[in-house]
Amino acid sequence: MSKLKFFIPAIGFFVLALLLWRGLYLNTRDLPSVLIDKPLPEFEMKTVIGSQLVTNKDLPDKMFLLNVWGSYCLPCLVEHPTLMRLTEEGEMPVVGVNYRDRKNLAIDWLGVNGNPFSFSLLDEDGKLGIDLGVYGAPETFLIDQNGVIRYRHVSVLDETVWQEVFQPAITALRAEQAGI
Protein backbone atom coordinates (compact mmCIF):
# COMPACT_ATOMS: atom_id res chain seq x y z
CA MET A 1 0.00 0.00 0.00
CA SER A 2 2.73 2.44 0.98
CA LYS A 3 4.59 1.51 -2.21
CA LEU A 4 1.46 2.27 -4.23
CA LYS A 5 1.27 5.67 -2.56
CA PHE A 6 4.77 6.37 -3.75
CA PHE A 7 3.59 6.10 -7.35
CA ILE A 8 0.59 8.41 -7.03
CA PRO A 9 2.41 11.54 -8.26
CA ALA A 10 3.81 9.65 -11.24
CA ILE A 11 0.39 8.20 -12.08
CA GLY A 12 -1.13 11.65 -11.71
CA PHE A 13 1.47 13.07 -14.04
CA PHE A 14 0.85 10.46 -16.72
CA VAL A 15 -2.94 10.81 -16.54
CA LEU A 16 -2.64 14.59 -16.91
CA ALA A 17 -0.07 14.25 -19.70
CA LEU A 18 -2.36 11.82 -21.53
CA LEU A 19 -5.32 14.19 -21.25
CA LEU A 20 -3.31 17.19 -22.40
CA TRP A 21 -1.79 15.20 -25.26
CA ARG A 22 -5.27 14.18 -26.37
CA GLY A 23 -6.35 17.80 -26.07
CA LEU A 24 -3.78 18.74 -28.71
CA TYR A 25 -5.63 16.68 -31.29
CA LEU A 26 -9.22 17.60 -30.41
CA ASN A 27 -11.11 19.62 -32.96
CA THR A 28 -12.16 22.60 -30.86
CA ARG A 29 -14.51 23.84 -33.58
CA ASP A 30 -16.56 20.69 -33.35
CA LEU A 31 -18.79 21.87 -30.53
CA PRO A 32 -21.94 20.01 -29.58
CA SER A 33 -25.09 21.70 -30.84
CA VAL A 34 -27.83 22.26 -28.30
CA LEU A 35 -30.37 22.09 -31.12
CA ILE A 36 -29.98 18.36 -31.80
CA ASP A 37 -33.39 16.65 -31.55
CA LYS A 38 -35.13 20.02 -31.47
CA PRO A 39 -37.45 21.19 -34.23
CA LEU A 40 -36.04 23.56 -36.82
CA PRO A 41 -36.65 27.18 -35.70
CA GLU A 42 -39.72 28.85 -37.14
CA PHE A 43 -38.99 31.19 -40.02
CA GLU A 44 -40.75 33.29 -42.59
CA MET A 45 -38.18 34.51 -45.07
CA LYS A 46 -37.56 35.35 -48.67
CA THR A 47 -35.70 33.09 -51.06
CA VAL A 48 -32.53 34.23 -52.81
CA ILE A 49 -33.89 33.53 -56.29
CA GLY A 50 -37.38 34.86 -56.96
CA SER A 51 -37.77 36.54 -53.52
CA GLN A 52 -40.63 34.21 -52.63
CA LEU A 53 -41.84 34.27 -49.06
CA VAL A 54 -41.35 30.79 -47.57
CA THR A 55 -41.99 29.24 -44.14
CA ASN A 56 -41.30 25.89 -42.47
CA LYS A 57 -44.25 24.48 -44.43
CA ASP A 58 -42.30 24.84 -47.68
CA LEU A 59 -39.50 22.55 -46.52
CA PRO A 60 -39.22 19.03 -48.02
CA ASP A 61 -41.48 16.51 -46.28
CA LYS A 62 -38.68 13.94 -46.22
CA MET A 63 -35.19 13.88 -44.79
CA PHE A 64 -33.06 16.73 -46.15
CA LEU A 65 -29.91 18.75 -45.62
CA LEU A 66 -29.90 22.36 -44.54
CA ASN A 67 -26.67 23.88 -45.79
CA VAL A 68 -25.38 27.24 -44.55
CA TRP A 69 -23.42 28.96 -47.32
CA GLY A 70 -22.21 32.29 -48.65
CA SER A 71 -20.64 33.60 -51.83
CA TYR A 72 -17.64 34.85 -49.77
CA CYS A 73 -17.07 31.37 -48.34
CA LEU A 74 -14.18 29.47 -49.93
CA PRO A 75 -14.78 26.11 -48.18
CA CYS A 76 -18.31 26.25 -49.63
CA LEU A 77 -16.74 25.82 -53.06
CA VAL A 78 -14.96 22.72 -51.82
CA GLU A 79 -18.18 21.03 -50.75
CA HIS A 80 -20.18 22.37 -53.67
CA PRO A 81 -19.61 19.36 -56.00
CA THR A 82 -20.86 17.00 -53.30
CA LEU A 83 -24.03 19.03 -52.79
CA MET A 84 -24.52 19.14 -56.57
CA ARG A 85 -24.13 15.37 -56.84
CA LEU A 86 -26.56 14.72 -53.95
CA THR A 87 -29.32 16.71 -55.58
CA GLU A 88 -28.58 15.71 -59.19
CA GLU A 89 -28.66 12.04 -58.31
CA GLY A 90 -31.73 12.60 -56.17
CA GLU A 91 -30.00 11.16 -53.12
CA MET A 92 -31.14 13.93 -50.81
CA PRO A 93 -32.67 17.38 -51.22
CA VAL A 94 -30.60 20.31 -49.98
CA VAL A 95 -32.09 23.56 -48.73
CA GLY A 96 -29.70 26.50 -48.49
CA VAL A 97 -29.31 29.22 -45.91
CA ASN A 98 -27.54 32.11 -47.61
CA TYR A 99 -25.83 33.41 -44.49
CA ARG A 100 -24.68 37.04 -44.10
CA ASP A 101 -24.35 37.54 -47.82
CA ARG A 102 -25.62 40.03 -50.39
CA LYS A 103 -28.45 38.90 -52.62
CA ASN A 104 -26.85 39.88 -55.94
CA LEU A 105 -23.54 38.22 -54.98
CA ALA A 106 -25.41 35.06 -53.96
CA ILE A 107 -27.31 34.94 -57.28
CA ASP A 108 -24.05 35.44 -59.21
CA TRP A 109 -22.38 32.66 -57.23
CA LEU A 110 -25.21 30.24 -57.98
CA GLY A 111 -25.09 31.23 -61.65
CA VAL A 112 -21.36 30.61 -61.94
CA ASN A 113 -21.07 27.47 -59.82
CA GLY A 114 -24.48 25.86 -60.23
CA ASN A 115 -27.40 25.71 -57.84
CA PRO A 116 -27.77 22.52 -55.79
CA PHE A 117 -30.48 23.98 -53.54
CA SER A 118 -34.23 23.39 -53.69
CA PHE A 119 -34.26 27.00 -52.55
CA SER A 120 -32.01 29.23 -50.46
CA LEU A 121 -33.24 31.38 -47.61
CA LEU A 122 -31.91 34.92 -47.74
CA ASP A 123 -30.46 35.45 -44.24
CA GLU A 124 -28.67 38.74 -44.82
CA ASP A 125 -28.60 39.83 -41.18
CA GLY A 126 -27.78 36.35 -39.84
CA LYS A 127 -30.94 36.08 -37.74
CA LEU A 128 -31.84 32.56 -38.78
CA GLY A 129 -28.14 31.77 -38.30
CA ILE A 130 -28.40 32.81 -34.65
CA ASP A 131 -31.55 30.73 -34.17
CA LEU A 132 -29.63 27.77 -35.59
CA GLY A 133 -26.58 28.42 -33.42
CA VAL A 134 -24.42 28.89 -36.50
CA TYR A 135 -20.79 30.10 -36.13
CA GLY A 136 -20.08 30.61 -39.79
CA ALA A 137 -20.44 29.03 -43.20
CA PRO A 138 -20.21 26.24 -44.12
CA GLU A 139 -22.35 24.23 -41.73
CA THR A 140 -24.77 21.47 -42.59
CA PHE A 141 -27.76 20.22 -40.61
CA LEU A 142 -29.53 16.91 -41.20
CA ILE A 143 -33.27 17.41 -40.77
CA ASP A 144 -35.69 14.50 -40.57
CA GLN A 145 -39.13 14.32 -42.21
CA ASN A 146 -40.74 15.79 -39.09
CA GLY A 147 -38.60 18.91 -39.34
CA VAL A 148 -36.42 17.91 -36.38
CA ILE A 149 -32.66 18.64 -36.39
CA ARG A 150 -30.89 15.30 -36.06
CA TYR A 151 -27.28 16.06 -36.83
CA ARG A 152 -25.03 19.03 -37.38
CA HIS A 153 -21.72 19.18 -39.20
CA VAL A 154 -19.40 22.18 -38.92
CA SER A 155 -17.13 22.94 -41.90
CA VAL A 156 -16.74 21.19 -45.24
CA LEU A 157 -19.06 18.35 -46.28
CA ASP A 158 -17.04 16.56 -48.96
CA GLU A 159 -17.47 13.02 -50.28
CA THR A 160 -15.39 11.58 -47.43
CA VAL A 161 -17.48 13.29 -44.76
CA TRP A 162 -20.64 12.26 -46.61
CA GLN A 163 -19.62 8.61 -46.67
CA GLU A 164 -18.05 8.39 -43.24
CA VAL A 165 -20.29 10.66 -41.21
CA PHE A 166 -23.58 11.39 -42.91
CA GLN A 167 -24.39 8.03 -44.47
CA PRO A 168 -24.00 6.08 -41.20
CA ALA A 169 -26.06 8.74 -39.38
CA ILE A 170 -28.78 8.57 -42.06
CA THR A 171 -28.82 4.76 -42.02
CA ALA A 172 -29.17 4.79 -38.23
CA LEU A 173 -32.01 7.33 -38.42
CA ARG A 174 -33.85 5.35 -41.09
CA ALA A 175 -33.47 2.16 -39.04
CA GLU A 176 -34.77 3.97 -35.95
CA GLN A 177 -37.78 5.27 -37.85
CA ALA A 178 -38.52 1.87 -39.37
CA GLY A 179 -38.49 0.44 -35.84
CA ILE A 180 -41.10 2.86 -34.51
Partner: protein, 154 residues
Amino acid sequence: MKNLLLLTVLFSLAGSFSLNAQVDTFQFDTDEQQQRFRRLSDELRCPMCQNTNLTGSSGGVAEDLRREVHRMIMDGFTNAAIEQFMFDRYGDFIFYRPRLRAETVFLWFGPIIFLLFGAWMAYGITRKARIIDIEESDLDSSQQQRLQDLLDKK
Protein backbone atom coordinates in the same frame (compact mmCIF):
# COMPACT_ATOMS: atom_id res chain seq x y z
CA MET B 1 16.04 53.23 -25.53
CA LYS B 2 13.95 56.13 -26.74
CA ASN B 3 12.71 54.01 -29.64
CA LEU B 4 11.76 51.23 -27.28
CA LEU B 5 9.77 53.64 -25.15
CA LEU B 6 8.01 54.98 -28.21
CA LEU B 7 7.19 51.45 -29.37
CA THR B 8 5.78 50.58 -25.94
CA VAL B 9 3.57 53.64 -25.97
CA LEU B 10 2.38 52.92 -29.49
CA PHE B 11 1.60 49.29 -28.71
CA SER B 12 -0.34 50.13 -25.57
CA LEU B 13 -2.34 52.71 -27.54
CA ALA B 14 -3.04 50.21 -30.31
CA GLY B 15 -4.37 47.82 -27.67
CA SER B 16 -6.75 50.34 -26.18
CA PHE B 17 -8.03 51.42 -29.59
CA SER B 18 -8.83 47.91 -30.72
CA LEU B 19 -10.63 47.21 -27.45
CA ASN B 20 -12.90 50.19 -27.92
CA ALA B 21 -13.39 49.72 -31.63
CA GLN B 22 -16.38 47.41 -31.37
CA VAL B 23 -18.45 49.28 -28.79
CA ASP B 24 -20.36 52.54 -28.79
CA THR B 25 -22.09 52.06 -32.11
CA PHE B 26 -25.42 51.42 -30.40
CA GLN B 27 -27.81 53.98 -28.96
CA PHE B 28 -29.22 53.51 -25.47
CA ASP B 29 -31.88 55.37 -23.49
CA THR B 30 -30.15 55.05 -20.14
CA ASP B 31 -26.65 54.51 -18.78
CA GLU B 32 -27.93 51.43 -17.02
CA GLN B 33 -28.85 49.88 -20.39
CA GLN B 34 -25.43 50.69 -21.77
CA GLN B 35 -23.71 49.17 -18.75
CA ARG B 36 -25.78 46.01 -19.09
CA PHE B 37 -24.85 45.82 -22.77
CA ARG B 38 -21.16 46.15 -21.93
CA ARG B 39 -21.32 43.57 -19.18
CA LEU B 40 -23.20 41.08 -21.36
CA SER B 41 -20.96 41.47 -24.38
CA ASP B 42 -17.93 41.16 -22.12
CA GLU B 43 -19.19 37.94 -20.61
CA LEU B 44 -20.53 36.26 -23.74
CA ARG B 45 -18.00 34.46 -25.86
CA CYS B 46 -17.83 34.79 -29.64
CA PRO B 47 -18.72 31.33 -30.99
CA MET B 48 -16.56 31.81 -34.07
CA CYS B 49 -13.34 33.19 -32.63
CA GLN B 50 -13.59 31.06 -29.49
CA ASN B 51 -11.16 32.97 -27.25
CA THR B 52 -12.63 36.43 -27.68
CA ASN B 53 -15.72 37.90 -26.10
CA LEU B 54 -18.42 39.64 -28.10
CA THR B 55 -16.94 43.04 -27.27
CA GLY B 56 -13.54 42.24 -28.71
CA SER B 57 -14.53 40.20 -31.72
CA SER B 58 -14.89 41.47 -35.25
CA GLY B 59 -16.38 38.15 -36.41
CA GLY B 60 -19.66 38.24 -38.30
CA VAL B 61 -21.57 36.19 -35.80
CA ALA B 62 -20.31 38.37 -32.93
CA GLU B 63 -21.59 41.44 -34.75
CA ASP B 64 -25.00 39.79 -35.11
CA LEU B 65 -25.06 38.71 -31.48
CA ARG B 66 -24.15 42.20 -30.25
CA ARG B 67 -27.03 43.54 -32.32
CA GLU B 68 -29.36 40.93 -30.77
CA VAL B 69 -28.18 41.76 -27.24
CA HIS B 70 -28.82 45.44 -27.95
CA ARG B 71 -32.26 44.70 -29.39
CA MET B 72 -33.25 42.57 -26.40
CA ILE B 73 -32.04 45.18 -23.90
CA MET B 74 -34.08 47.85 -25.69
CA ASP B 75 -37.09 45.49 -25.77
CA GLY B 76 -36.90 45.20 -21.99
CA PHE B 77 -35.52 41.66 -21.69
CA THR B 78 -33.85 40.85 -18.36
CA ASN B 79 -30.22 39.71 -18.28
CA ALA B 80 -31.43 36.23 -17.34
CA ALA B 81 -33.73 36.13 -20.38
CA ILE B 82 -30.92 37.25 -22.69
CA GLU B 83 -28.58 34.63 -21.25
CA GLN B 84 -31.27 31.98 -21.74
CA PHE B 85 -31.69 33.10 -25.36
CA MET B 86 -27.96 32.58 -25.94
CA PHE B 87 -27.91 29.26 -24.07
CA ASP B 88 -30.82 27.90 -26.14
CA ARG B 89 -28.82 28.50 -29.31
CA TYR B 90 -25.16 28.12 -28.42
CA GLY B 91 -25.15 26.08 -25.20
CA ASP B 92 -22.65 26.36 -22.37
CA PHE B 93 -19.93 27.44 -24.74
CA ILE B 94 -21.33 30.95 -25.10
CA PHE B 95 -20.62 31.75 -21.43
CA TYR B 96 -17.21 32.53 -20.05
CA ARG B 97 -18.77 31.57 -16.73
CA PRO B 98 -20.74 28.43 -17.63
CA ARG B 99 -23.81 27.51 -15.63
CA LEU B 100 -23.46 24.93 -12.89
CA ARG B 101 -24.85 21.76 -14.46
CA ALA B 102 -23.94 18.07 -14.44
CA GLU B 103 -21.80 18.62 -17.55
CA THR B 104 -19.93 21.58 -16.08
CA VAL B 105 -19.40 20.37 -12.49
CA PHE B 106 -15.83 19.30 -13.23
CA LEU B 107 -15.05 22.68 -14.78
CA TRP B 108 -16.21 24.42 -11.63
CA PHE B 109 -14.81 22.10 -8.98
CA GLY B 110 -11.92 20.43 -10.81
CA PRO B 111 -9.42 23.10 -9.73
CA ILE B 112 -10.50 22.77 -6.08
CA ILE B 113 -10.06 18.99 -6.31
CA PHE B 114 -6.56 19.48 -7.73
CA LEU B 115 -5.76 22.00 -5.00
CA LEU B 116 -6.92 19.63 -2.25
CA PHE B 117 -4.92 16.81 -3.82
CA GLY B 118 -1.83 19.01 -3.92
CA ALA B 119 -2.35 20.09 -0.31
CA TRP B 120 -2.71 16.45 0.74
CA MET B 121 0.52 15.56 -1.06
CA ALA B 122 2.35 18.50 0.50
CA TYR B 123 1.08 17.49 3.92
CA GLY B 124 2.22 13.91 3.38
CA ILE B 125 5.70 14.97 2.30
CA THR B 126 6.27 17.45 5.13
CA ARG B 127 4.96 14.98 7.70
CA LYS B 128 7.41 12.36 6.47
CA ALA B 129 10.20 14.92 6.72
CA ARG B 130 9.19 15.66 10.31
CA ILE B 131 9.22 11.96 11.19
CA ILE B 132 12.75 11.68 9.80
CA ASP B 133 13.75 14.73 11.88
CA ILE B 134 12.45 13.11 15.03
CA GLU B 135 14.15 9.81 14.24
CA GLU B 136 17.45 11.56 13.72
CA SER B 137 17.36 13.32 17.04
CA ASP B 138 16.59 10.00 18.66
CA LEU B 139 20.27 9.31 19.44
CA ASP B 140 21.67 8.64 22.90
CA SER B 141 24.37 10.93 24.31
CA SER B 142 27.36 8.85 23.18
CA GLN B 143 25.97 8.65 19.65
CA GLN B 144 25.34 12.39 19.70
CA GLN B 145 28.95 12.91 20.73
CA ARG B 146 30.22 10.72 17.91
CA LEU B 147 28.08 12.57 15.40
CA GLN B 148 29.40 15.88 16.65
CA ASP B 149 33.00 14.60 16.41
CA LEU B 150 32.45 13.46 12.87
CA LEU B 151 30.99 16.78 11.88
CA ASP B 152 33.82 18.69 13.61
CA LYS B 153 36.46 16.64 11.83
CA LYS B 154 35.12 17.86 8.55
